[in-house]
Amino acid sequence: MADVIFSSWQGEIIDNRGKARESFEAPKVKLPGEFEKGLPVKAFMGWDGIILCDESVDIVDMSVRYVEAVQKESCGRCVPCRIGSKVILDILRGIADGQGKKEDLERIPAIAAGIKDGSKCQIGQTGFVPLLQALSFFGPEFERSITEGRKAKAGDYKVSVTAPCMSVCPTQLDIPRYVEAISEGRFTESLVTIRENTCLAGTLGRVCVRPCESNCRRANIDEAISIKSLKRFAADFELEKNVKRNVEAKIDKNKKVAVIGAGPAGLSCAYYLAQMGYPVTVFEKLGEPGGMAAVGIPDYRLPRVILGSEGAFVESFGVTMRYGVTLGKDITIDQIRKDFDAVFIGVGAHSSSPMGVKGEDMGYRGFIPGVKYLLDINNGEDPYPEGKKVVVVGGGNVAMDCVRSSFRVGKPDVHLVYRRTKKEMPADPVEIHEAEEEGVEFHYLCNPTRILERDGKVVGVECIRMELGEPDASGRRRPVPVPGSEFVIDTDILIPAIGQAVDFSFLEKREDFTITKWNTFGVDQETFETNVPGVFSAGDCETGPDVLVRACGNGKRAAWKIDEYLKGEKPKARMSEKFVKFFGDVKVYDKNENVGLLGDSARHLLRPMAPEVRKWTFDEVEEGFRTDEAIAEASRCLRCYRIGMIAVG
C-alpha cells in the first residue's frame, strides 16, 4: 500500500503535502499499491474524490482525462451531462493546452453545479466531483497552467466504469444497463446484455443470492431494486413470447476442450469457450443440464424447463452435450486428457456432509441425506413412501428445499432443527418466510445427538438444546449445548442438510491432483488451473459449496484462462478482473451515503401463490412480473454508474 499524499475520498480530507513522510496521516480508505505487477497506483480519481500517491502526476492532465471519460460515458439521455460535460471539457482542454483564461476557473464550478444537481444518473452527478476537488485543493496547478500557458503533461491512465451493484456481482453483470433496458421496454436487449456475462439468466433470476441488492443505492432512500426478479422477467419474456434467438455458432479453432459437468460452472465455461470459437464437449452424468441446480433445487423454485432452455441455449453455440456419461465410470480423466487439449472440471459438490451424530452411518431406513432426498424428488420419486413425518437438520437453502419439498410429496408433518437462531440462518430469507407460511415447524437452538431406531428404521431423533456463546470464525455466535436438556422428536424420516462435499471418487488417481484441506480442488487462484497442466476447475468442487452465481463467474473466468493456455500465452489477468479487485478494495457502495432524494416507492415483489395451495404442488411458487410491473420497478433504478480512473504512469 502506497503512502497517500492527498485524499478527499469519502469526505475525509487528508492533506500530507509539504509534510515529512514519517508524519503522513493515513486515510481510512486502503488503496492497493499496485494495479498490476509493475504498474503502481500513482493516483486515483473517482466518484467520491481524489487520492494522490505520487507527486509526478499532473493533476490538470488527469482532470481533463477524467472529464473526457465522463463525456464518453455520457449516454445522451439527459441534457446537463450530455452537453454540459462537453462545455466543461472544452474549457479544460483549453487550460491543459496552455490556452486557458483566468475566468475559466470561476466558470467551471458555476456550470458544474447545475450538471451535478440536475443530471439523471450518477455519471453526471459524480462526474465532476474530482474536478471540483482538484480546483479546490490544487488550484495553483490550474492557475499556473493559465498564467504560464503551460501544457499539461500527458499521463498513463486506466479507466473503468462500475456501480455499487456491479462491483459485487460475482459474474460482473452490467446491472444498470439491463435494468434500464427493461425500464425502456427494450426487453430483448436487456437479455442480450445479461447474456454478455452469464448464460443462466432465468436460473439466476430465480435463485441468485443477489449481493447486488444488498449494495443497491436505492435502499438508501426507500428499498432496493428487485434486480433478481427483473432478470427473471427478461429471461421469461423470451420464452413466453417465443422470441427467436439469433445465435450463430462459430467454431473455428482446432484445439478441443472437454468440460466435465453441465452445472453452472461447466455451462458457463462451455458458453464462453464456444463463443471464442473452441469446439467444446460437455460430459454430464445426469440426463439433463443444471447439475445441482437441476437435482438439488426443486421445481417450485427453479423449473427444469428453464434449465433445459438454458442448456439448449449454450448448445446452440456449437457445444456438444453428452448426457448420461459418468466420469470415472463411462470415461476417465486420462482418456479425456488424451482426446482433448484442455479439460475443465466442474463436478460440483454432491455429497452430504456428516452431522457427527451417533447412528448416522448405520444405514437406517428413513435416514436420507438431503442431497439424495432432493435428487429422488427431482426424479419424480417419493424417497421414502412409508415415512410421513420429516425432520430436517440444517439452516441453509438445501434444508429449506428439503422441508418444503416434503409437503409436495405428500408428507404433511415437517420439522426443521437448527442449532442457531433464525437470525443466523444462512438460507434465503424469502425461503425461510415461505417455509414458515407453508407450516414447517422450526426448532431453533437445537442440535441432534442420537438417532433412535427400531428394526433398522428411524423412529425418532434425540436433540439437545443449544445456547449462543462466543462468535466463531464466520462471525456468528457459536452454539453451545445446554447440558441435560435432551429431548426427542418422533419421526420416521431424518434428513441431514448441513452441508455438501465434493465426491472425488471419480478420480482414478486421486494423488495426481492437489486436494485442499477443505476437500476441494486446489487451483491457482488467478488461472483456475489445477496442479495438472491443462486441467482447470471452478465451481463448488473448487470453492467448496458456494453460491450459484460464483460458479457462473468463475466458470467464465476459467474459460478465459483456458483460452490463454491453449494459445500458449502467459496467464494475464484481464483489465476487467483487475478492476474488479481494485473496486473491491476501494468499495463502491456506502450504505451510509445520504443520497438526498425522496424515496417515493416501495419495491415491487413477485406474487406468491397462497401457502395452502402451493405447498402441495411443484408449480413455481411465484409468478413473474407483469410487463407494467417490470417497467415500473426498473424505472426506480438510480443508474449509479461511476467512473474510476487510476494513474499508472
Binding site: E73, G76, C78, P80, I83, G114, G118, D628
Partner: protein, 801 residues
C-alpha cells in the same frame, strides 16, 4: 387520495400520480420539454425539476411520485438558474433556423427560451457538424441539427406504435436519435406528432404554412373505422397544408396512421373532377350541375315508370347525412335496393350482434381494464392501426396478455403471448373447441348457463382444436390464458366475419366466458362510416348483390372494381340502362356512367360518421364553400319532389329526429344499442374444410377504406412502399416454397375456379402451411380475377411458374 403541498398550496391527488401530474391537474405550471401525457416519463430535459422540503437534491417532478405530506417548491432562483442553464446548453448548437423552420410559432424550445428570458448564450461545446441523412420514411424530414434529444420520438415509436424503429445512438454530445430499423417503419407519423421542435417535420405537402396563416379545423379522418380525431390546417379556405393532432383528443389521443397523417393530399389533387359530364351515346359533354341533375332525374324516373329496380350503391365513407339524402331520393321511387361495400363485413357483423344480443356500441377504453386481449382475424397493421395502439397501451400500463388467432403473421404477432395459427376459415372449429372445454372444466361464466341456446351437452373439448391446423402447444396456452383471464377484450375482423359460422362461434365463446359482462366485444369496421351508412340504410345489402339485381344504378363515391372481380363488374355495368356516378375522381365505375358528378372530399363535407365502436364522430367542414356531392344530392331530391334541404345541418336534425342516432346517458350520440338480451347461436358443428384445392388464398385489404388508393391520387406514393406494409405482394410459407421448389421472388401460377394468375411470390416466415396471402393495395384487379364475387378466402392451386 393523498394530500401534498405545491408552492404552499394544498393539493389532493390519486396515489400513484407523479408530482407533475398532480400539479397539472391543479393548474400549477411546471416547465417541461420532454414530458408527454401519452408516454411513460422520460426525464431527459430535466426542466421539470422541483425541490422537496427535507431533501437536498432537486428531483424531476415527472418521475417522482406524489407522496403524502411532502412540500414541493416548483419555482425558486436556484431552479430558474438550473433551467436556464439547460436551455442554454440546448441553444449552443441549435441552428438559427426559426425563420425557415416549420415549427416556428409552435415550438416548445422557442416558448421555453422566451419564458426563461434567455437573451444570449456565452457557452460553447464543440460538436461535429450534422449531415443530412435519410429518415425512416420519405414523408418526414429529419433535421438532426435541430434535435434536442428529448427522446419523445424514440419512446413513441416503441410504446405507441410498437414499431421500435428509432433508437438513441452514440454518446456524449455526439449522441443522436437515428432510425435503427427503417424497414419496420409504417409512416404512422407518431414521431412527427410528438416532436416538440422542428427536428421532425412533414415532407408531404407542396405548400407550407405557418400556424397563423391557416385555419385549423377539428374533424374526423375519413379512412378506416376507428374514427380518429384530427385537425386540418387549411390555407385560404381551399388548400389543406397539413394534419395535426392533439394528445388530449379522443379516441386516438393524438395518434394516427399513415393514412390519417399523410393521406389528405388527395383533396388537393389536380385530377379532381370539377365539372359534371353527361354521356349521350358515345359523346361525353360537360354539363352544369342543374343539367346533370335533370338528366339523372329524368333517367331514373323513366326506369321507375317502367317498373324497374333502381339500385343505390353508397360508399361506406359517405356521411350519415349523405346516406340519408340518398334514402330520401330512393324514397321517391317504387322499386329500389340499397347496397354498400360496408355490408360484407360490418353489415353482417351488426346483424350477428343484434341477433345474439351482444352489447353494442362499445367503449375503446374498456380494453384498459382487461387482462387478456384476443385479436382474431384482423391484421391491425393494414387497417385500424389505432386499435393495435390501444392493445399496446393495455400491455404497457396493465401488463395485459395478448392472444392472436390468425393464419398469418400480423402486427401483433411480434409481441403477443400466444399465436394460434388456424387454417383460414376453420375458426369456428377452434372457438367451439375452446368453449366446450370451458364448459367441461366448469370455467365458464356461471350465468351463461341460463342463456338461451347454451349447449345442453359438452362438445369435443380443446382437443378438437388441433383439427384446425393449429399446434397443440399454442391451443393449450390460449386456453390457459383465456380460462384464467378475469376480463377479456375480443377484437375481431374480416378474417372471422368472412363466415357466419366463425363469427357466431366466436360470439358464442364470448357469451360462454361472459365477455359481454366482464370484458368487451370489439368488432372492427374497415371504413369510416360503414356503421353509419348501415344504420341510415338498414335494408342495405352488399353492393355485389345490388349490381346484379338493379337495372339502373346510382353510385355514390364507390367503385365496385376496387373489391369485386373485374369481369363480373364490367359485364354488369355495361348492360345497365342508366348509371350515375358521383365521385371525386374518375373511377372504373365512372367510365361506364351516363352521368358523372364531382363529389366532395372530407375537407369539404359537413356531417357525421359512426365509427366501429358505434359512437358518432363529427365531420366538420374545413375548406370554404359547400360540398359538391351534397349539393348534387339536395338538388336531385328537390327535383324529384322530395323537398329542398338547405344544408347538411337540416339533414342531421332529421336524422336525430328519426332516432337513427340516439344519445347515451352522457349525451354522446350513437347508433341505437342492441337489446342486450344475449343468446347463443345454435351450435353448428363446424368441421375443418376439405377444400377442393390444396391452398387457400387469403386476401388482406391494406388501407381498404379508400377506393381511391389504387388510383394514384395520393401525391406522394412513397408511404405505400414502406416494406412493413407490403402492399400488392403475394406471400407463401417457407415450407410450401421449398416443397414446390420456388425461390423467394420466383414466379408462381395461381389458379382458382374463376381465373388464373402468374406473378412473383415472396417467402414469408411464419405464414401457415397451405396458406397464400395477398395484400391488396393498389394493384387489386389482377388478384380479384381469382375471386367470383367478394373474396376473402379463395381455394387455389399453386405451382411453380
Amino acid at each position: 387520495m393523498i394530500t401534498l403541498k405545491i408552492d404552499g398550496k394544498e393539493i389532493k391527488t390519486e396515489k400513484g400520480k407523479t408530482i407533475l401530474e398532480a400539479a397539472r391537474e391543479n393548474g400549477i405550471y411546471i416547465p417541461t420539454l420532454c414530458y408527454h401525457e401519452n408516454l411513460l416519463p422520460i426525464g431527459s430535459c430535466r426542466l421539470c425539476i422541483v425541490e422537496i422540503e427535507g431533501y437536498e437534491k432537486p428531483m424531476t417532478s415527472c418521475t417522482t411520485a406524489a407522496v403524502e405530506g411532502i412540500s414541493v417548491t416548483t419555482r425558486s432562483e436556484k431552479l430558474f438558474a438550473m433551467r436556464q442553464e439547460y436551455l442554454k446548453f440546448l441553444l449552443i448548437n441549435h441552428p438559427l433556423d426559426c425563420p425557415i423552420c416549420d415549427s416556428g410559432g409552435e415550438c416548445r424550445l422557442q416558448d421555453l427560451v422566451f419564458e426563461h428570458k434567455i437573451e444570449s448564450v456565452d457557452l460553447t461545446a464543440g460538436r461535429e457538424p450534422k449531415k443530412a441523412k435519410p429518415y425512416a420514411t420519405a414523408l418526414i424530414r429529419y433535421s438532426e441539427d435541430r434535435c434536442v434529444l428529448c427522446l419523445r420520438c424514440v419512446h413513441a415509436c416503441r410504446e405507441i406504435s410498437g414499431r421500435r424503429v428509432l433508437e438513441l445512438t452514440g454518446s456524449g454530445i455526439e449522441a443522436a436519435m437515428a432510425p435503427k430499423t427503417p424497414e419496420d417503419c409504417i409512416s404512422c407519423g407518431e414521431c412527427l406528432s410528438v416532436c416538440p421542435v422542428g427536428a421532425l417535420t412533414e415532407q408531404e405537402s407542396p405548400l407550407k404554412s405557418r400556424k397563423w396563416q391557416t385555419k385549423r379545423q377539428t374533424t374526423t379522418c375519413p379512412h378506416c373505422g376507428f374514427g380518429c380525431s384530427l385537425d386540418l390546417d387549411v390555407f385560404e379556405d381551399r388548400f389543406v397544408t397539413k394534419v395535426v393532432t392533439r394528445p388530449e383528443r379522443l379516441p386516438n389521443k393524438g395518434s394516427l396512421c399513415v393514412m390519417g397523417r399523410f393521406g389528405y393530399d388527395f383533396a388537393n389533387n389536380e385530377a379532381r373532377l370539377a365539372t359534371p359530364t353527361v354521356r349521350q351515346g358515345a359523346a361525353v359533354s360537360e354539363a352544369t350541375l342543374v343539367e346533370a341533375v335533370e338528366a339523372t332525374a329524368a333517367a331514373l324516373a323513366k326506369l321507375d315508370k317502367e317498373g324497374r329496380t333502381i339500385g343505390f350503391i353508397v360508399s361506406p365513407r359517405a356521411t350519415n347525412e349523405e346516406a340519408y339524402m340518398i334514402s330520401q331520393i330512393a324514397g321517391t321511387f317504387s322499386k329500389t335496393r340499397f347496397g354498400t361495400a360496408g355490408y360484407y363485413h360490418t353489415g353482417r357483423v351488426l346483424e350477428a350482434l343484434r341477433r345474439m344480443g351482444i352489447p353494442y356500441p362499445y367503449e375503446y377504453d374498456a380494453i384498459n381494464g382487461c387482462d387478456l386481449v384476443v385479436v382474431a382475424g384482423a391484421d391491425l397493421l393494414g387497417n385500424n392501426h389505432l386499435l393495435a395502439n390501444k392493445v399496446r397501451e393495455a400491455v404497457k400500463m396493465k401488463g395485459a396478455k395478448v392472444a392472436v388467432v390468425d393464419p398469418s403473421p400480423t402486427a401483433l404477432t411480434r409481441a403477443c403471448d400466444v399465436w394460434v395459427k388456424v387454417t383460414p376459415g376453420s375458426d369456428a372449429l377452434f372457438f367451439n373447441a375452446v368453449a366446450s372445454q370451458l364448459i367441461a372444466d366448469k370455467k365458464n361464466d356461471p350465468e351463461a348457463g341460463s342463456l338461451e341456446g347454451f349447449p345442453g351437452s359438452a362438445g369435443g373439448g380443446k382437443g378438437d382444436a388441433v383439427r384446425t391446423g393449429a399446434d397443440e402447444k399454442s391451443v393449450d396456452k390460449f386456453y390457459a390464458l383465456f380460462a384464467a383471464a378475469s376480463r377479456v377484450a375480443v377484437i375481431f375482423g374480416t378474417g372471422v366475419s368472412d363466415r357466419t359460422e366463425s363469427m357466431e362461434a366466436l360470439l358464442n365463446l364470448c357469451l360462454v366466458k361472459g365477455v359481454q359482462k366482464a370484458g368487451v366485444v370489439m368488432p372492427t369496421a374497415l371504413q369510416s362510416n360503414a356503421v353509419g351508412v348501415l344504420s341510415v340504410l338498414p335494408d342495405a345489402v352488399s353492393s355485389g348483390d345490388v349490381l346484379g339485381e338493379a337495372e339502373g344504378l346510382f353510385i355514390y363515391e364507390d367503385d365496385p372494381f376496387h373489391y369485386l372481380g373485374g369481369k363480373r363488374v364490367e359485364e354488369s355495368l355495361k348492360n345497365k340502362t342508366f348509371v350515375a356516378v358521383c365521385d371525386m375522381f374518375p373511377t372504373g365505375a365512372s367510365a361506364h356512367a351516363h352521368v358523372v358528378v364531382p363529389s366532395g372530399s372530407f375537407a369539404e363535407k359537413d356531417g357525421s360518421y359512426v365509427a366501429e365502436d358505434g359512437f358518432m364522430r363529427k365531420v366538420a367542414r374545413a375548406e370554404g364553400g359547400s360540398s359538391p356531392g351534397f349539393d348534387f344530392l339536395r338538388l336531385l331530391l328537390d327535383r324529384l319532389g322530395g323537398g329542398l334541404y338547405r344544408d347538411e345541418q337540416e339533414a342531421s336534425t332529421v336524422l336525430f329526429g328519426k332516432e337513427v342516432l340516439v344519445a347515451d346517458d352522457s349525451g354522446r350520440a350513437m347508433v341505437r344499442p342492441t337489446n342486450g338480451q344475449a343468446r347463443l347461436a345454435s351450435a353448428v358443428r363446424a368441421e375443418a374444410d376439405k377444400p377442393a384445392r390444396p391452398f387457400t388464398l387469403v386476401l388482406r385489404n391494406v388501407f381498404f377504406h379508400h377506393h381511391l388508393a389504387g388510383q394514384g391520387v395520393y401525391s406522394k406514393m412513397v408511404y405505400l412502399q414502406n416494406p412493413a406494409v407490403a402492399g400488392d405482394r403475394l406471400f407463401i410459407s417457407p415450407e410450401d416454397a421449398a416443397a414446390l421448389g420456388i425461390a423467394d421472388g420466383g414466379q408462381v401460377i395461381v389458379e382458382s375456379d374463376h381465373g388464373t394468375l402468374q406473378q412473383p411470390v415472396t417467402v414469408k416466415e411464419g405464414l401457415g402451411k397451405g396458406v397464400l396471402e395477398y395484400r391488396m393495395l393498389k394493384n387489386r384487379q389482377d388478384i380479384l380475377k381469382l375471386a367470383d364475387e367478394y373474396g376473402k378466402h379463395i381455394a387455389v392451386t399453386v405451382k411453380k411458374g
